[in-house]
Symmetry: C2
Subunit: 315 residues, 2 copies
């Protein structure tokens, strides 16, 4: 496996990196002055390009549901939120409506002078839409949320480290909520063809290399005082707890939220260094439109509060 | 390479296949009775799952811009449109606005009795939004567009053949406008692992096989009388015309629209069995907000009209 420092030495930052770094710096400095709590929510999958002029890439399955929903609930708990997401994946608030759902909610009416038309949300849709829109507007106006996005696993790695550099100053007040589905594998720069692979050349074989585990420098060096939460997605139930426990032992962070692909919307397992327990969304609550991210975030926030108090007591 | 019939024999249709087939059948029968012209627009990329319980997949780069824009212009030319697109890729009309753009166009106002609120598009956004919304509503109300979607290359193949079975009855009145970026490679069912590949097993090697070229049975067997247009995307300019010409010689269809990844938004090359010429969007026109898909579709429609006339003269 490539060492994490070598990964940054051999892969250039994305073109918009300096812009994003400035945004992160400004956002963090403002909220640190206000002594706010802050959370970095990562969300969506990363790509691994197979060619320099990218036509094909390996992708990880993730619509961004977990991350975008969780970001909303962290805002409810008065956290400043850095929403670091895969370009075009689901975002807080807008995730509730697709493009066609928006269009179908709207009515065009010609005004009396027939010079201008007005477009309004149909009355029967206002009840559903108004609270979501109101929360979105408040989050924007109070500047409690910053959106930054990535596409490839290299973009992700650069943004993650830049965010950590800004978050370090928050010490215990920062939560890292690493819900993005980051590729374990990649193709190193020097092994990538320049042009689109040609089918005339026969069926290709793609050789992947392991991506360094950034959780190691993140938890021990970049934000050593923060409350770090990682996610584990498996398709095999039997591997879940074992792998979560391995991860905690290795990286010494605070919490792994483990879930199985097929049941992830109504069941997760919280694994801490000392404990593990299930968090479940009942069928009734799901039918009422409740989401499992609401109790997940409530639990994380409670653990984070306890963590801050015990850190203060140590001082 | 797998033979195309073997591909269907060894890969099951997707779960929603019969529903989509019914929709296609109803849509085509209605428009065929009306003697309408019809176009199948395919759009967006296909995925190749790497695992049965899909966490990872190989994807083709395509936001669906070409296909979704072209579908709008075919509607302007009074074609019935089957918009067969990658799930979550860009769609006609809604493509002009992202989720946040929608939210930012909206104002909440409390009405006099303060019991109900109304939400309306801000006056300065109405001018841009109204014409798009109006066209969307007309296309829906007149049932001139049918949306069907796919994710994997297997889904795509099943839908493509089902659409062709319904389109055959239109004979020369059907256009196939195959703008989707379909994977050339896939992993056969029996070579796919059931569970998520584990990074502990070391870096994996992915062995891909060639997907059969469906353009062969499509042009010669499924819709032998239709006007078939394929697309060729390359990153290497030098390969463009040669490969387009090869394709026409092999599949005997009517037109290849060839483009280079980096310049595809303002330059394409039309390659017919007898001719090739460039279609170019000037910088001025691009700055006015014009899209190259407008002249592309106008040219295809003109060629299609000529094709229908010459077919009638032969009879």
């Amino acid at each position: 496996m490539t060492h994490w420092e070598d990964f940054y030495n051999t892969h250039l930052p994305p073109a918009d990196f300096e812009d994003n770094r400035s945004l992160l710096k400004e956002f963090c400095e403002r909220h640190n002055k206000l002594q706010n709590r802050i959370v970095l929510v990562t969300s969506g999958g990363t790509t691994v390009p197979l060619e320099h002029n990218t036509v094909r890439f390996v992708d990880n399955f993730s619509a961004g549901t977990r991350g975008s929903a969780s970001a909303e609930y962290f805002l409810d708990h008065d956290y400043a939120v850095i929403f670091m997401h895969r370009h075009k994946s689901l975002e807080p608030f807008t995730r509730h409506f697709t493009g066609q759902q928006f269009f179908d909610m709207l009515d065009i009416a010609d005004t009396a002078d027939s010079q201008n038309s007005t477009i309004a949300i149909k009355p029967d849709s206002v009840d559903v839409f108004a609270p979501v829109l109101a929360k979105y507007k408040i989050a924007r106006e109070t500047q409690m949320i910053l959106y930054v996005n990535f596409t490839s696993v290299v973009d992700y790695m650069w943004l993650l480290r830049a965010a950590c550099e800004c978050l370090a100053a928050f010490e215990e007040r920062a939560v890292l909520y690493l819900a993005a589905a980051v590729s374990d594998f990649y193709i190193p720069e020097d092994m990538m063809p320049t042009h689109k692979m040609q089918s005339g050349d026969g069926a290709p074989t793609i050789s992947l290399q392991l991506v360094p585990k950034m959780l190691a420098p993140l938890a021990s060096l970049w934000v050593p005082h923060a409350f770090v939460v990682s996610f584990k997605l498996e398709t095999d139930e039997n591997l879940l707890i074992v792998k979560a426990r391995d991860s905690l032992n290795k990286y010494k962070h605070k919490l792994v939220i483990a879930n199985v692909l097929q049941t992830r919307k109504h069941r997760v397992v919280f694994v801490t260094p000392t404990d593990s327990y299930e968090l479940h969304l009942s069928r009734d609550k799901a039918l009422q439109g409740l989401e499992i991210e609401e109790p997940i975030v409530a639990d994380v926030v409670q653990k984070h509060s306890d963590f801050i108090i015990s850190a203060e007591q140590r001082q």
